[in-house]
């Protein structure tokens, strides 16, 4: 199913403008993540798509050729996985998964068969008779997913589906979820505040801030070609270089860089992994902090700009605090982005 939103906005009765007019298109079979900090409007957008919130007048929501804007949630045929899972404590695992099918008034036999199929897909066979309260967090998460997809919804919506789990489990289930979603071959939208999660699961990520989708693209696009300081900072923690620009030359306290193009009226951003420590580099700084992170070190350099410039070092013999080192940044690693209000 193809989802398209046009001019969709939400202002709450208390005047909060949770979502500014937004257009969004999700293609058949695409898995899209709405990524952003809390309060950016991502959950509101998801709830509007589900039919759990009524958008402002003038909003339009289309499922393929159906205008569903005024259709209530129970008629939209969407599957939803809630942050708290919202599993019915009065029903067994099997009854929870079969509930949507029962609502479609399918014959008992068919319900039975479809539930069994979904139980297998989600590897829940052995828990089918269990009560919800007897399940672990990860099992509950899977039941919630199974329940949402069992009625074969037109669209699957997931609201922070992993956030109720502890860190270790979250990481394991992230990959499992990515695989499962592709097995279902379903159009899916999921909301998260965790960029790793968004990148691991989604085909396309829509980054949201202040009630707007600020950029939408593949994880690589967002990482390599952010269109704003916000996206650069939120996806992959890019740093803004504090220096002075003259055409394609960029002057820092610790040296001069060549920009890929004219950098006037632009902010210059770089990621830590693109700051390479190497003899003969064009920047000179003093090692201020060294943090061992297992696969690599994170090095904080002073004297290059007013704040610390972070670099990574993957070799064996990391520099020591107080040493003077040289660093290089390739022109193509420098991202020239529109000046934001904060940096002006």
């Amino acid at each position: 199913m193809t989802l398209s939103l046009t001019n969709t906005a939400k202002t709450f009765p208390d005047g909060t403008r949770a979502l500014l007019p937004t257009d969004l298109k999700v293609e058949q079979g695409e898995i899209v993540s709405l990524l952003g900090p809390s309060g950016c409007g991502k959950t509101t957008l998801l709830r509007i798509i589900a039919g759990l919130e009524t958008p402002n007048d003038g909003s339009e929501i289309w499922f393929d050729d159906d205008n569903v804007t005024s259709l209530s949630v129970e008629r939209r045929k969407v599957g939803m996985v809630f942050q708290s899972y919202a599993l019915f404590p009065n029903m067994s695992v099997r009854a929870n998964i079969g509930y949507g099918l029962k609502m479609q008034k399918l014959p008992a036999k068919e319900i039975e068969a479809r539930v069994t199929e979904v139980l297998e897909m989600c590897q829940l066979q052995e828990f089918s008779a269990r009560s919800i309260t007897a399940l672990s967090g990860g099992q509950r998460q899977r039941v919630a997913l199974a329940r949402a997809i069992a009625p074969r919804p037109r669209l699957l919506l997931l609201d922070e589906p992993l956030s109720a789990l502890d860190a270790a489990l979250r990481e394991a289930l992230r990959d499992e979820l990515a695989v499962l979603l592709r097995t279902f071959d379903i159009t899916a939208i999921f909301v998260t505040h965790d960029q790793d999660e968004a990148m691991a699961i989604a085909d396309r990520v829509a980054v949201m801030s202040g009630g707007l989708v600020v950029q939408s693209g593949t994880p690589e696009d967002l990482y390599r070609k952010p269109n704003s300081a916000f996206v650069a900072g939120f996806v992959g923690n890019a740093m803004r270089l504090e220096g002075r620009c003259e055409g394609a030359r960029f002057y820092l306290d610790g040296g001069t860089l060549t920009l890929p193009s004219d950098g006037s009226d632009r902010d210059v951003f770089v990621r830590a992994e693109d700051v390479a420590l190497q003899a003969g580099g064009s920047l000179e700084g003093r090692v201020e902090t060294v943090t061992f992170l297992g696969t690599h070190y994170r090095i904080g350099l002073s004297d290059i700009m007013p704040g610390l410039l972070t670099s990574t070092y993957a070799g064996q013999n990391a520099p020591r605090v107080g040493e003077t080192v040289r660093a290089e940044i390739k022109p193509e690693a420098l991202m020239l982005l529109p000046k934001s209000a904060q940096s002006a």
């Binding site: 589900a50 209530s72 949630v73 809630f82 404590p89 609502m103 009625p151």
Partner: protein, 266 residues
Amino acid sequence: MADMFKSKAKILQLTVTLLACAFLLVPTILSVMAGLTVNYFKGISSGLTLKWVFQVWELYADSIFLSIWLALACLVVTLIIGLPAAYGLARHPGWLSRLLEEFISLPLAVPGLALALALLQLYGSMKGFRTSWTFILVGHVLYTLPFMVRSILAVLASMDLKTLEEGAASLGASPFQRFRDIVVPNAMPGILAGSLTVVTLSLGEFNLTWMLHTPYLKTLPVGLADSYASMRLEIASAYTLVFFIIIVPLLMAMQWASARAQRIAQ
């Protein structure tokens, strides 16, 4: 010294506790005994008998059946009114709901006598209604409804009703289906506790009933008051015994169910 004081204090506390128990228990035992002895004035030595209980049955069986009928009717009505109302109050928590809850709880605080007077003032002249059993039923529902509503509301308020319902709605359930499949089953402990409370209180209700009843419609407690005023002590006691036999198991079930519902609500 401290230990001395402690043990002395303990003895004092134990004495008070035992005296209180005796105060509550001894007259109950006396009443059971009086209902089963041939002549209470002469004492147990006059022999044990069930004849007073049989006499009570002959005299008051109608009252007992009326009370059971009223209690069951009261249960049905409080369920029909109270269950959806508790749900409505739980779904719309706000000052208006608080006010409504406070208002329907008035019969807990305002003496039954005053409520009965109020009902009589307004409906006393409607003869068909005034003389029917439904008039007493109204009084019982008025008094027991807040217990039903609050008992269910406490359980509903303790769960994330809104999200559970959204979950059901996303699976295609209509408002009524959500109420039937999600709200009612999950409110069961509260419904059970509320139901037992309603039946127990309705069976024992006297204050309103005494004012609302007619000579042809006497409930069990009205009959009790009647027997206390006009029958010999043995019959009054035997009748009280019958009442205890009906009410005590219900009371125990009610306390068990309420404790369970409270645990769930926390």
